[in-house]
Amino acid sequence: MRPIDPKDVQSRIERLVGQDLYFHIEMTIGAYAAHYDETKHQASVFVKNGRIRFSRGSVAGGGPYRVGLKTEEGWVYAEGLTHYQDEETERLILEGHDRDGKLVVALLLSPHPF
């Protein structure tokens, strides 16, 4: 994983416009957050292998970054993205890592199921 280069990620998003894709999106505060700190509200969410075709997609912000994908009837949105896998050719792998390197948020796109 490399720190997000917004220009590179933007062009990778644009290459996926109009394609039938699978997406994985998630956010987590860690499965043990409330166990270690009772003031934390335990929460996480993920969708694995949802289907998406988007007409417009953009990277925004100065880092950490936001990504919004506009679909025919709605949006897919993620905030807090910091890293991407630059060796990928077909897939887009975007993750947000906290200062300890732990994953907080992820948005993945692929023509094939994850």
Partner: protein
């Protein structure tokens, strides 16, 4: 020869609370089958610094689990192919049925899992519940002992003191080998307990493994 079946949901669950105990039993001739229900696909640790990502993590963790089993001496590792975080949403009868197949095949003298309701992570609780359900289907006389790990806040108030406390200090080499095998998940210096506990408490945490013997409700299962 003693046969032990370990049923836990995530690669690394064995390392914290049971690896010393398993190494101890193995050194005395036990044969251990470890059924690991998921590959910990949704773990948020990616290495220190990160070297895995959401897509590569399952295969990374599979290799780490295999290395951990080698360090402990576990002879038989089974990967059951469920998905991290989803065990509580599987059909409980089917999940227990899968565990039941292993009980039938292995006929263990001892089963090690998490105590349902006292193990913090929903996968831990669902895993323990599936094991209890599966063992509960056996005639009472044929049920192996179930030694459960528990670590929720207040679990000792609810369950009493642990029934089995193993001094695993002679097996710390294997235990540290198991812990270090899971290198995407923690470094020795970043173990969660390390920050919370004093040096002596940490040595105690590392050197003793605690289990509660599952007690069947009097009215049956």
């Amino acid at each position: 020869m003693k046969k032990i079946l370990v049923v836990l949901p995530h690669p690394d669950d064995e390392a914290f609370g049971a690896s010393g105990t398993l190494a101890m039993h193995i050194s005395r001739g036990a044969r251990v089958t470890y059924a690991c229900l998921t590959l910990g696909e949704m773990g948020r640790n990616m290495g220190f610094p990160p070297f895995a990502n959401r897509v590569t993590l399952p295969q990374v963790r599979k290799a780490e689990l295999e290395a951990s089993c080698r360090a402990i001496g576990i002879q038989d590792l089974r990967l059951l192919g469920y998905h991290d975080k989803t065990l509580e949403f599987e059909d409980p009868d089917a999940l227990a049925g899968r565990v039941g197949e292993l009980l039938e095949e292995i006929r263990p003298d001892l089963v090690i899992t998490f105590y349902p309701g006292y193990s913090v992570h929903p996968d831990h609780d669902a895993c323990g519940a599936a094991v209890i359900r599966a063992v509960g289907r056996l005639p009472e006389a044929e049920r192996p002992a179930i030694h459960c790990m528990a670590f929720s806040r207040g679990c000792e108030q609810a369950l009493g003191a642990p029934d089995v406390v193993n001094d695993v200090r002679p097996y710390l080499e294997q235990k540290l080998g198991a812990l270090n095998a899971h290198r995407s998940q923690f470094r020795y210096g970043t173990l969660p307990a390390r920050g919370r506990l004093s040096e002596s408490e940490f040595a105690e945490w590392l050197g003793r493994e605690r289990f509660w013997i599952y007690r069947w409700p009097k009215s049956g299962v």
